[in-house]
């Protein structure tokens, strides 16, 4: 019944690269031959759907409707493999088993959901049903920054939690609390990933330092890159520029996800 793994991507601060990382990781894992789903929790701001080329005007029903029993999960899943157009990187996903599930569990709506009694078990059942219906190996969830209740729900249900951090002390401080929470909620696999690392740092040293501090594996140190800033929100960067340092390091993170038992 519980074959597929739930992978949550989180960061303490906003703009750390969750959406870009989630989309690229999901794409890499799909290219490795896995069946992959992505829950997009961010329809308002340019989020994952943009990276996968889904027009928000064409988005109909969302995960919320599904959770409320107002839609079937089949109605919500958007097949990326069948709509791999409008980007050189995206085109490489043609024929792959990758689906996007738009949702809008955020802000005002979360309190509404809680009021209406969508609790942890209901969310969890919904995610499990998604996995079963689409026979998924991995279901990625792009969360919101900070530790609000919605994020806590995602962490609690995760088999794998990837925490993205920028290498500065403010982020490390915030990340330390998330690490403690993940341990308190018994997340089986806790992976760290550094993004937007300035080239002035020694990446090998950085990885070691952070691993020592948190006693968790740093699966990749991804550089701050103008190429990415220029390009990323239009296409899947790691597919379009596979030889770029950012892409190479990202594939290392994908390998770590695939390697979790």
């Amino acid at each position: 019944m519980n074959k597929g793994k739930i992978v949550s991507i989180h960061s303490f601060r906003g703009g750390t690269g969750k959406s870009n990382t989630t989309a690229n990781l999901a794409a890499q894992v799909a290219l490795a031959g896995k069946r992959v789903g992505v829950v997009d929790t961010d329809i308002q701001s340019p989020g994952i759907h943009v990276l996968f080329g889904l027009d928000e005007n064409k988005m109909g029903k969302t995960m919320n409707d599904f959770l409320h029993g107002k839609a079937t999960i089949r109605e919500i899943g958007f097949s990326v493999g069948e709509n791999a157009v409008g980007g050189e990187g995206r085109a490489k996903l043609a024929g792959q088993n990758l689906w996007l599930f738009p949702s809008s569990i955020r802000g005002r709506e979360i309190s509404q959901i809680l009021k209406e009694g969508i609790d942890f078990n209901l969310l969890n059942e919904g995610l499990q049903k998604t996995i079963t219906e689409f026979d998924l190996d991995y279901l990625f969830i792009d969360t919101h920054p900070g530790l609000n209740e919605e994020t806590l729900l995602s962490i609690a249900t995760s088999d794998i939690l990837i925490i993205i951090l920028r290498p500065d002390n403010q982020d490390l401080q915030g990340t330390s609390v998330t690490v403690d929470i993940a341990r308190s909620l018994d997340v089986p696999n806790l992976l760290l990933m550094v993004n937007k690392a300035l080239p002035k740092y020694d990446f090998v040293e950085l990885k070691k330092e952070i691993e020592d501090k948190f006693n968790a594996p740093v699966t990749g140190v991804l550089p701050l890159s103008f190429d990415l800033a220029d390009n990323a929100s239009n296409d899947l960067f790691s597919l379009r520029y596979p030889d770029h340092e950012w892409s190479k390091a990202l594939r290392g993170v994908a390998d770590a996800v695939l390697a979790t038992g």
């Binding site: 019944m1 078990n121 609690a156 002390n169």
Partner: protein
């Protein structure tokens, strides 16, 4: 005297394929010129119709900078050749040449040279051969330079180690293509050294986590009823998943 000329002609790349006997023929037709210090051997823009071999002394090759001041491009001494190409194409001199010291040079005139080319097909052929050989070398060097440029752009410096012994014997003076490659190589090595130097200066991030604050924030989050419930439910869920 003529044997000096012969010796020197032999070392000139243009004539390297000529037989002793053909070279001797050329040497006989060359004339000797003595220059006083500061005497002008040729002027920029003049029609070039001869080749000079420096036998003794030093000359400077100069041009003008944008302000009209003299700019020394190079200095040449005994054994070096000036204006080799002019023998064939008669193109205007690209720079002015002035004697730095009292000097003695051998001059081979274009008309004399052409006369020999007319009379002796073996000389003509040898010259053509030496040119095509140089062209072939130049092409190989250019290909090498392209290959190295691409590697350098990708940050792959592995060729520097492999090529080191090969580039140590400095290229002969009249082989500009080899000089280009040699200079290019030196440039890449310097760039690599600077890059290595920079790498060593990489910074280390000093991580400081305020443990008291960390604990306080953790307790704020986990102290709610919502969290207590969630933790309980998560625990049950994980047990259920573990059982499959």
């Amino acid at each position: 005297m003529k044997s000096d000329i012969l010796n020197q002609l032999q070392k000139t790349s243009m004539f390297m394929n000529l037989s002793e006997e053909a070279l001797a023929d050329l040497a006989v037709k060359a004339s000797t010129r003595t220059l006083e210090k500061d005497e002008v051997l040729m002027r920029k823009g003049e029609r070039g119709d001869s080749l000079f071999l420096i036998h003794d002394g030093w000359v400077k090759i100069v041009t003008e900078d944008s302000k009209g001041d003299e700019l020394i491009i190079n200095k040449c001494g005994p054994g070096e050749t000036i204006g080799e190409m002019s023998l064939l194409d008669g193109s205007p001199r690209s720079a002015t040449v002035i004697a730095l010291t009292a000097s003695e040079v051998f001059e081979l005139k274009q008309d004399v040279f052409e006369e020999i080319l007319d009379q002796r097909t073996d000389v003509s052929l040898a010259i053509i051969r030496s040119y095509s050989e140089r062209l072939r070398f130049a092409t190989t060097y250019i290909e090498k330079a392209i290959d190295w440029s691409q590697k350098t752009a990708e940050g792959d410096y592995s060729f520097v180690e492999q090529t080191q012994p090969l580039m140590n014997d400095s290229a002969s003076n009249d082989d500009k293509a080899a000089q280009l490659l040699s200079t290019f190589f030196t440039m890449v090595r310097r760039v690599k050294e600077r890059e290595d130097g920079l790498k060593q200066q990489l910074e280390k991030l000093t991580i400081e986590i305020d443990q008291a604050r960390r604990k306080q924030e953790f307790e704020e989050i986990t102290g709610t009823e919502f969290y207590a419930n969630l933790k309980e439910q998560a625990k049950t869920l994980r047990q259920k998943r573990a059982q499959g």
